[in-house]
């Protein structure tokens, strides 16, 4: 098995990192550049920034954060929230981001995935999918942090974004997000069986045991965590130690 990447996810609103439950009831938990540096030191394999209200504050807010972060963080990081055009992608990459995550814009204009992966390389185009449970063992894709329905079936949509050229998929369970009650295992199973691009799963990690359960349930490549870190339940190092003890291969944080 390849090493599972443990990714620290920071949802930002204005100048702050926030955290909610089911992508709602948001509260401020800290400053992005400071928290990012802390998680980098703890041994995070990557970082993800999602600006949850990019449309209100404009992209400049996120660009400022990316600029501040890329001075101090020497691991890959992904930026999402308000990425709508090829020019937006270019701006974020030039500011130091390695990948961009796109949700709303590709549900409205799927062709953007193809154009973007041709122009920048598929390795930096992450399709972000917010999944909410629907009847009959199905999930519907949402946008705008779980506020807007798209009518798209998550498993079919995941296959489609792969076909269109997305290099990775970030799959967030709206039902589990922020609950700290464990992942939506059935969702992860179905999506991981449907796609062959790297899959990052997110939503529900309350302890390291949940992460182990999630990794063992499907063919996934990375787990994005936030509450568990933000509220100090575990550090990245503690999570990785637990994973390693469970026989899961992870990168060790190098001490030089």
């Amino acid at each position: 098995m390849e090493k599972i990447r443990i990714i620290a996810r920071l949802d930002v609103k204005g100048p702050n990192v926030i955290k909610g439950v089911n992508l709602e009831a948001l509260r401020v938990v800290g400053k992005p550049e400071k928290m990012a540096e802390d998680y980098y030191r703890q041994g995070a394999d990557e970082l993800i920034y999602i600006d949850i209200v990019a449309s209100l504050y404009g992209r400049q807010n996120l660009l400022n954060i990316v600029n501040l972060t890329s001075d101090k963080i020497f691991i890959p990081f992904t930026v999402g929230g308000g990425v709508r055009t090829l020019d937006d992608i270019s701006l974020f990459l030039k500011a130091g981001a390695d990948k961009v995550a796109i949700n709303t814009a590709i549900t409205k204009n799927p062709d953007l995935i193809t154009k973007a992966s041709r122009m920048f390389g598929s390795q930096c185009i992450v399709a972000s999918i917010e999944a909410k449970k629907a009847p009959e063992n199905k999930w519907e894709a949402y946008t705008e942090n779980g506020r807007e329905k798209t009518g798209l079936d998550v498993v079919k949509w995941a296959k489609k974004v792969e076909k269109l050229g997305a290099g990775e998929i970030l799959l967030t369970s709206i039902d589990k997000e922020g609950t700290k009650k464990g992942f939506d295992i059935e969702l992860i199973k179905q999506v991981s069986e449907a796609v062959s691009v790297p899959l990052i799963v997110c939503g529900g990690a309350g302890n390291a045991g949940h992460i182990v359960e999630c990794i063992e349930s499907g063919n996934i490549d990375a787990v994005a965590v936030s509450s568990i870190l933000h509220y100090g339940t575990s550090t990245i190092g503690e999570i990785k130690n637990h994973l390693a003890k469970s026989g899961i291969s992870v990168r060790k944080n190098a001490k030089l």
Binding site: E2, S70, F74, I75, G96, V197, P198, D221, R251, A254
Partner: protein
């Protein structure tokens, strides 16, 4: 001539997006770095860095359009140190199979070849591109005067690639890594030429340590 304006490292820009990380990584270890794209800046450089992301043939085409291929070749043949990163490392080789056979800078004999497709390899979780952290396997008894000086025995570094170089002379392979049961060249070293298939600027403290070592050995 006093060339105090020449930075420690000159990073070659041939129209790729993410040069900032490489630039900042060098600055964070206390080196002066500058992004350059003119043949005369290549000629006056103390130390060259060839970064890269994207497709091999378009990168070569962009280098040609900017009239950079010959100055880089000449400069390196004259002994100037160069560090190729990711696609920039692949460009140092003779040729690549990506989107048809294309000629590279030809500074290191060898060919860039693809990972086997997931259909050919029956390993759970095997996907192409290879994105993630892999351990380096040192190939030399001595790491003296190489990037590997001062590193712990277990080093994990960050890769993003679908192709990798196969060097004609195994003696030029300083370290390998394994992915999907395939062992490939992760660091090439031939005299003043060094190349890393991974991204040292994105490989945390291990990566920064390698850049520091490269500068200490090469930018005097």
């Amino acid at each position: 001539m006093q060339n105090y304006e020449i930075p420690d490292v000159s990073i070659i820009d041939y129209g790729i997006n993410n040069l900032k990380s490489v630039n900042i990584a060098f600055q964070s270890i206390g080196r002066t770095a500058k992004i350059i794209d003119a043949p005369e800046d290549v000629q006056s450089a103390k130390c060259l860095v060839l970064p890269g992301i994207g497709a091999f043939h378009s990168a070569m085409e962009n280098l040609r359009k900017k009239s950079l291929t010959e100055p880089i070749r000449q400069k390196v043949k004259d002994g100037t140190p160069i560090l190729g990163i990711c696609l920039g490392m692949q460009l140092l080789f003779s040729e690549s199979e990506e989107f048809g056979l294309h000629k590279g800078l030809g500074l290191v004999p060898g060919r860039v070849i693809p990972f086997k497709s997931p259909k050919e390899i029956n390993i759970k979780g095997y996907k192409v591109p290879h994105i993630g952290w892999s351990e380096l396997i040192f190939q030399k008894n001595s790491v003296k005067n190489t990037l590997l000086e001062n590193l712990p025995e277990q080093c994990e570094v960050y890769f993003v690639h679908s192709y990798f170089p196969k060097a004609d002379d195994a003696g030029t392979v300083l370290a390998t890594a394994k992915y999907g049961g395939q062992e490939f060249c992760a660091i090439v070293k031939k005299g003043n030429i060094t190349g890393t298939q991974f991204h040292p600027e994105k490989s945390g403290e291990i990566g920064l340590s390698m850049l520091r070592t490269f500068c200490n050995q090469n930018c005097r």
